[in-house]
Symmetry: C2
Subunit: 350 residues, 2 copies
């Protein structure tokens, strides 16, 4: 583990100020990245075995397994960076399966010419996010592509978690009358990244919501709440999650526009950028669908966590007549049918 003293990059500028193709070649320079940066920072005994894989244990045989590649642009944005995002993205996907994330793999695709210091900062950030989520980075891989064939850093994280939910977490489990709870205000991640990319300055600084949600989700199971369905609101935002859940569950969903928290500065930024906050990506928000009788306990449990402080009910599972759909009851009482968008609202947001 790097001490404070070592918080400057251990590969000095005078040696290798930038990533070269040889850093991905499997020889001495590849080993130097592992020995000086990855192994001491991630500091897991499994990384020191220098195998091409990690040999480890899960408590029972029931696991969740997930993968995500991250190509966010720019690499650093208010509230996070690609390293934090890569850890949180996979941690949250596993949590949404009703599992406790335990082990992560990391696959880097680095572009030749990347400043070594940038890699160092991203790796430190991954370490911090992994610590905050309580997961171990146990295996990894690094490839280098020529300048102009990448964009600084792409990171794949895959993860394994232990299933902790006694019942299946799935759209198929939801029932008429269930409460739909949103964990907090929406739209911040997408707007923060977009503003950083375009060099926009908003009056108040909008920070990404990027955060690991797993400890909050684990607390729901600790409280024996019969969670029916979980979904994090990444690409496509809240609206896409609702449409997909309605479609998979064959149940209808109605949410109330006035109950969905959007910060005023996010609202104005979305207007300026021509975005609909309902479709903007979040990286630290989810919905939980629970039986009505578990509503109070769920809200109170979520509110114990920073990432759930803004938890609130946004709607219910409706009795379905006809084809299942997700609708938004607007502030003025009209109904808007939600559907998947066909274009690219925000490219490279995660």
């Amino acid at each position: 583990m790097p001490t404070k003293k070592q918080l400057t990059c251990p590969i000095p500028q005078s040696d290798y100020p930038k990533i070269t193709l040889a850093h991905g070649g499997g020889g001495l320079l590849s080993n130097e990245l592992v020995d000086k940066i990855f192994a001491p920072v991630f500091n897991d005994p499994l990384l020191y075995e220098r195998h091409d894989g990690a040999r480890t244990n899960v408590k029972t045989g029931e696991i969740a397994f997930s993968t995500d590649s991250h190509v966010v642009k720019p690499l650093f944005f208010p509230g996070g960076d690609i390293g934090k995002l890569a850890v949180c993205g996979t941690v949250n996907d596993i949590a949404m399966c009703g599992a406790k994330p335990e082990f992560l793999s990391v696959g880097f695709i680095l572009e030749e010419g990347l400043p070594m210091e940038t890699l160092w900062q991203v790796v430190l950030s991954m370490k911090e996010a992994a610590k905050s989520a309580g997961v171990r980075i146990v295996t990894g891989d690094t490839k280098v592509v020529e300048h102009g064939k990448g964009d600084g850093i792409y990171i794949n994280t895959s993860g394994i978690g232990q299933i902790i939910s006694p019942t299946p977490i799935s759209p198929a489990s939801i029932q008429t009358g269930d409460a739909i709870i949103l964990s907090g205000d929406i739209g911040r991640h997408g707007v923060a990244v977009m503003a950083a990319r375009e060099g926009l300055q908003f009056e108040s600084h909008i920070q990404s919501d990027c955060a690991p949600l797993n400890r909050m989700i684990e607390a729901l199971f600790d409280e024996n709440i019969e969670v029916r369905c979980l979904r994090d609101l990444t690409r496509g935002g809240l609206a896409t999650a609702l449409v997909e859940i309605a479609s998979s569950s064959k149940q209808s969903i109605e949410v109330l526009e006035t109950t969905i928290p959007v910060k005023p500065e996010v609202e104005s930024a979305c207007e300026l950028l021509g975005l609909d906050p309902l479709f903007v990506a979040n990286e630290g928000r989810c919905i939980a669908i629970v039986p009505e009788k578990a509503y109070d306990l769920t809200i109170n449990t979520m509110k114990r966590f920073a990432c759930g402080r803004g938890a609130c009910r946004i709607g219910v599972i409706e009795k379905t007549s006809g084809s299942p759909q997700a609708t938004l009851r607007t502030a003025i009482g009209t109904h808007r049918l939600l559907s998947l968008f066909s274009g690219e609202q925000l490219p490279r947001i995660c």
Copy 2:
């Protein structure tokens, strides 16, 4: 599963001849890739659950977990393509941990403008490789980057396997007198890729050795062979594997140059390209280190498999005096100390 009729790409040229940024946006076009290409081809029930992760079972709690990103250039080469390589790469890494690979994740990073037909061919190839290895592709992710920020397709595969070796497979397990067995001739993958990249024509067509090794490795455990150490010979080739094993095990290794099979056409191509076959990447070759008394059974078991037909002894673990090292006894009886190379012998070979 696509029938023969469907072996043309199910997204017609007239709809989307090329990948667009919107195919990575999480909306309708992202779903179309999953619904029309990934889910029907990989055809695993877990993919149809449309979760962000797969919930599944492993028989016991002891697992191997590995990851590899693949950036090979060109995407297609004699004997394989990036899809086959991505499946074999992770399958082999898991097999080398003494485990039976079971589940794979796939993370695509696609470049805007990639012909849809290219993606289709790569996906079909992944399916075939997964079938041949007996592994399931159970979860995935797709991102799209702008034209000029990638190179067609990059693929990360991560995998989970069930440990089947009763003893730890590790350099630490090897003992003086153990036999070092190589599974076949070396250097073909690197040379095949390099030739395809540079448009070189060799007199006889050199095919990559790219293949899944897991069934051969599983057979060793079925025969109750006390395997001490396994290593596949990817980036850095045979020499790098030997140096790393010597260094981790603190044992010395001596291999005989005359016993290491290199096809004459590979030998000549290496001369032409200025490469040393000992350091050239393979994607379907490994070494197995076993007790001398298990030598015959190991060789005979490996030879039952196409990927092990050329299995042969190349050396022994020596009694160490002084610092551990890997040496090559040359054809003329001199000794050459092997060491890691510091440059990039062949960039983007896997």
